[in-house]
Amino acid sequence: MNPTHAAEQPARETPGPAIEPTEAPPALEVHDLTVAYRTQPVLWDVDVALPAGRLTAVVGPNGAGKSTLLKAVLGLVKPTTGWVKVFGAPYAEKRSWVGYVPQRESVDWDFPTSALDVVTMGLYGQVGWFRRPSRTHVATALECLDKLGIKDLAGRQISQLSGGQQQRVFLARALAQDARLYLMDEPFAGVDATTERAIFALLKELRREGRTVVAVHHDLPTVPEYFDSVVLLNMRLVASGPVATTFTQENLQQTYGGRLTTLSQAAEALLHRRPVDKK
């Protein structure tokens, strides 16, 4: 949508094999990130570097800290330790480069507003304080609805939309943000087949434009089809890398198997050893 983005970030034919640390900083770099709610650790020493222009799935069991990882990147939760960089700079400096798709259940869909109005919210960052969205903004929002194939539902009150249509409204809103890095919290959760196809098409389109997508994903069988790389998370980082080499039976076993015993014990041990351990 914004031509300058495409120019600076040429689309890749195929995902590159490795990160190029000198020329292009990773789209997202998470270093030594630990997040705790009260005293309960949710993320533990997570290190991830994701190259630009790829579709990455964040995979892990319930309570593995997947949503928290996204929220920590966005500065919505305060990490205990560690830092996050977006395109080589702190998030606060690159905020407008990052788009966010929250979980669908996170809002009240009975709110008195229309699909178009919700999508227009994606442009509020551009609109700025005290101003109303202009005609151009609304036209852009309408375009985004069109890209998700629900332009005809623009005026509809959001509770009158099906779950899949609501999800598409959220994605259209993110599209309106015109970001380079998209963080999506379970975009495929509980949607119909049409919506799933529409979202997949959108992801491919975003990759073609050189944008980066990091999506929390629950449906393991579709990971190789929809995504280039994968981050396997279970409070700690289990593995991260291209789907072909990382999305293995062994890694999955480690992510999902015995999480209440091995991993939490390890974390517990680390928790006590930590001051000594950190040289």
Partner: protein
């Protein structure tokens, strides 16, 4: 009303202006309180204003509006900060924290009020009007303060409408856009306290929350747009304020504040019942129409099924035979058949009924949906054939034509249902 007319109308004018200002402001800001589900917080802030007023009086010894209102403002802010800290630093949940602060502050206010009234000197009388309001005591200087505060609140809502909409709808997303959601929230809460202060003299702390929430809840019934809702809520608030004031001016011993609340509540009841789409009456009507349609469709289908079993499509079916089908009474069959007869889908001979050609088309449409759904359930969900009839009974009334065509194609245009009965084809039905 000739001699005292001027005096009465001067008071009434003040009451009218004060109540309307409060109604409009409360209604507008209340929309955000309602949508953020913070009605209880509004109530707590209103109650918390009472000790603030008392302390301000004790400190300044004056009853002029400004210091008292500043006291209320300070107490309201202190109350909301305490609620926030309780939630943040303890395991007490928000609703409990609000309840605690509400009662503690109100209790403190009552204690202070009682102490003040026992002080020597006559200056202290009249503070208790802040409990339930005493609009008749409004004077021009009060109105000036109320008007200024209200204008400030309305201006803030106009300026920050987009930002507060974002806060109310999707706070997390707003934060990801870089808007300081916490600051916006604090700002909104401060305005809530300001509105409470505006309403202190008119409705008092106890009933204050009604002027915030009731007009907003009523307005929500009529529209699906926040901007319209906000204006409408302001209008409903203003109208209830004005009519409450007039009513209490015309009828003696009718307290203004409670009357305003009652008028607003009456408007809410009307909205809950009669608003299109969201109103209860509307919902009941929709339900009734749907039930009536199901009954009509069932009767039509029953007549068709008799014909199918007996061989003759346009055979007359007697009423007792139809009564046996679903355990309906003769009068019910009669009632359900009337619209079908009128629509030309059925014909009658004595008490027997038969399909017309148009009725046959309609009946086959229904039977097709029913049987295709049965095929779907047995094939795709692998349910045994004797388990699918009930579900199909419901789906035949709910499936759209497009959906059933898709279903037909997906199933490969089956000829018969799981019970071996023919599935009417669309083409045949049309010829």
């Amino acid at each position: 009303m000739t001699e005292g007319g001027i005096v009465i109308s001067y008071t009434l004018w003040n009451v009218l202006a004060g109540s309307t200002i409060l109604g409009v402001t409360g209604g507008v800001l209340g929309c955000f309180t309602l949508l953020r589900r913070q009605s209880l917080l509004g109530d707590a802030l209103a109650h918390a204003a009472l000790p603030g007023v008392c302390v301000a009086f004790l400190l300044t010894g004056s009853k002029s509006p400004l210091p008292l209102l500043l006291g209320a403002l300070a107490a309201g802010v202190a109350g909301s900060l305490l609620i926030l800290s309780i939630v943040r630093w303890s395991r007490v949940k928000e609703d409990s924290a609000i309840g605690i602060i509400l009662s503690v502050f109100f209790g403190l206010g009552i204690v202070l009020l009682t102490r003040i009234q026992q002080l020597p000197g006559g200056n202290q009388s009249g503070l208790d009007k802040f409990l339930f309001g005493q609009a008749a005591s409004l004077v021009a200087s009060d109105l000036a303060v109320m008007g200024t505060l209200s204008l400030a609140v309305l201006a803030a809502v106009v300026l920050l409408f987009k930002e507060w909409k974002l806060l109310a709808f999707d706070r997390t997303f707003g934060a990801s856009l870089g808007y300081p959601m916490r600051g916006l929230e604090i700002g909104l809460t401060c305005l809530l306290v300001v509105v409470v202060v505006v309403g202190l003299q008119t409705v008092g702390v106890v009933l204050m929350v009604a002027t915030l929430v009731t007009p907003a809840a009523a307005a929500r019934q009529w529209t699906d747009r926040l901007s319209v809702m906000t204006v409408l809520s302001g209008a409903i608030g203003g109208i209830s304020g004005a009519s409450g004031a007039i009513a209490s001016g015309l009828v003696s011993h009718l307290p203004t504040g409670p009357t305003i609340v009652l008028v607003a509540s009456a408007m809410l009841v009307v909205s809950l019942l009669f608003a299109p789409n969201r109103g209860l009456l509307w919902a009941a009507l929709r339900e009734r129409r749907f039930t009536a349609r199901i009954r009509r469709e069932n009767l039509l289908k029953d007549v068709y099924l008799f014909g199918e079993r007996g061989g003759g499509r346009f055979e007359f079916v007697s009423r007792p035979a139809l009564m046996g089908e679903r355990g309906l009474g003769g009068a019910e069959i009669e009632r359900h058949s009337l619209p079908l007869l009128r629509a030309g889908l059925l014909e009658r001979f004595g008490d027997a009924l038969r399909l017309t050609p148009a009725g046959l088309v309609e009946a086959e449409r229904l039977v097709r949906k029913h049987r295709l759904w049965e095929v779907y359930l047995t094939r795709r969900l692998e349910l045994p054939p004797d388990h699918v009839h009930r579900d199909a009974e419901a789906m035949e009334h709910a499936l759209s034509e497009a959906a059933v065509d898709d279903l037909d194609e997906m199933l490969g245009f089956p000829e018969v249902d799981p019970h071996g009965r023919r599935i009417p084809r669309r083409e045949k039905a049309e010829t």
